[in-house]
Amino acid sequence: MLRAIRFIVDLFTQRHGIVAFVFFLVLGLLMRQSPTPIRESIVSTAVSTLYFPAQRIVSAVGHYKALAEENEQLKEENARLRQETYHAREGLQELARLHTLVRFDDKWDFPIVTARVIGHNPGRFLTTMVINRGSEHGVKENMPVFSMNGLVGKISKASMTHSRVQLLVDPNLKLSVMDRRTRVVGFLESMDGVRLTALVPTHAGVHAGDTLVTSGLGGIFPKGIPVGTVKDVRKSDLDVMRQMEVEPFQDFSILEEVFVMEKEPDWLIKELLDE
């Protein structure tokens, strides 16, 4: 047994690591060539068994550390607030924040699940994140995800205790948007996984500074969720369409908490549009 292990280790380490290199390269190529269900299975297994528990521990440690720090700060603040009239203003600000959340809840008439971001892509192309709410909390695939600032993305995979969120900058996520001022409908996508680009008809007169919201078409996102502002308008290859760079309202790299709207996709609308 020991000899067999020694043999395998030697095989990998001798010959300048060529055997190891070929082995890992073939593994990578197999992953690359495998069909989508198998890729889904690889990613789900890896996230559930390896990365989610690790990130949960790291996140929990960070959370408790943050709570301890917050506790200290609150104690200090409490003492200070006893002596200052600033107390009232703080309370009003908190009330306003909660009021915004309540309005968010009322506006679309769907229950909302609050979730904490516990993991995201550690690479330079941030397209996916993991939240600590899953199917046991009512979260399902294709439910819209948003923050206080605006739309974040949608649930791409819901496991029992956690879910993956496909962010707006994921090149595979395309959604229908509407210019709030002109009411013209276009669509939004990210071609490179970094920037958001909207395509709207040229005649519509959309210009930099306009606000884009979800149009409600497509059956996944309800109408009126703020998406971002038009930053730069440029001509596209098609004369009838204008391509514009969009600055999302939410910076995805600093997200800590998100809200999942318990809205099931309206498949009838989606099928009609697909036809």
Partner: protein, 163 residues
């Protein structure tokens, strides 16, 4: 490499990912951030040889692929495995790298890694050109700067240990 060596690298790997998810954002300006993961792979490959280089390249790449779009699964894995192996080979067979050479290899590795990644993901030529000029190139230079500081502080004084 003994078990303690692997454990040390594993701990370093965890620290590097923690840095990438926290400090990299703080160090970023105009959306340009250093890539600690590539510095890690190049460092491991230089110090531990091609076997460890391609293994940790595989692990680091797969970790990034897990959170990337499902259609691109394997792209980071392949790119970083190649990077780890190539840098390990370069150090082991051809050169004993001094500080400027290490920084040069880091920059070249960064560039090659991104090119392999772009090629595998099948992005269009225009998108790749744009990404190269606005993201890869500035981030490569930034990573070389951070890597250079790291190599200066740590690597120059230590003896290489091959797998």
């Amino acid at each position: 490499m003994n078990n303690l060596g692997w454990l040390k690298i594993f701990i370093l790997f965890v620290i590097v990912y923690a840095l990438q998810m926290t400090v990299a954002d703080l160090l970023s300006f105009f959306d340009i951030a250093p890539d600690f993961v590539i510095i890690f792979i190049v460092t491991v490959a230089i110090r531990r040889g091609p076997t460890a280089g391609c293994f940790w390249g595989f692990v680091a790449g797969f970790t990034q692929d897990v959170y990337a779009p499902i259609e691109w699964l394997g792209a980071n894995t392949i790119a970083m495995t190649v990077l780890g192996f190539a840098v390990g080979q370069l150090e082991e067979r051809f050169l004993s790298l001094n500080l400027p050479a290490k920084v040069g290899v880091l920059g070249l590795g960064f560039f090659v890694c991104d090119m392999i990644y772009f090629a595998i993901t099948g992005l269009s030529k225009d998108v790749v050109t744009n990404l190269f000029l606005t993201k890869s190139l500035p981030e490569c230079l930034y990573t070389m700067l951070i890597g250079g500081i790291f190599f200066y502080l740590d690597l120059g004084s230590k003896k290489k240990k091959h797998a």
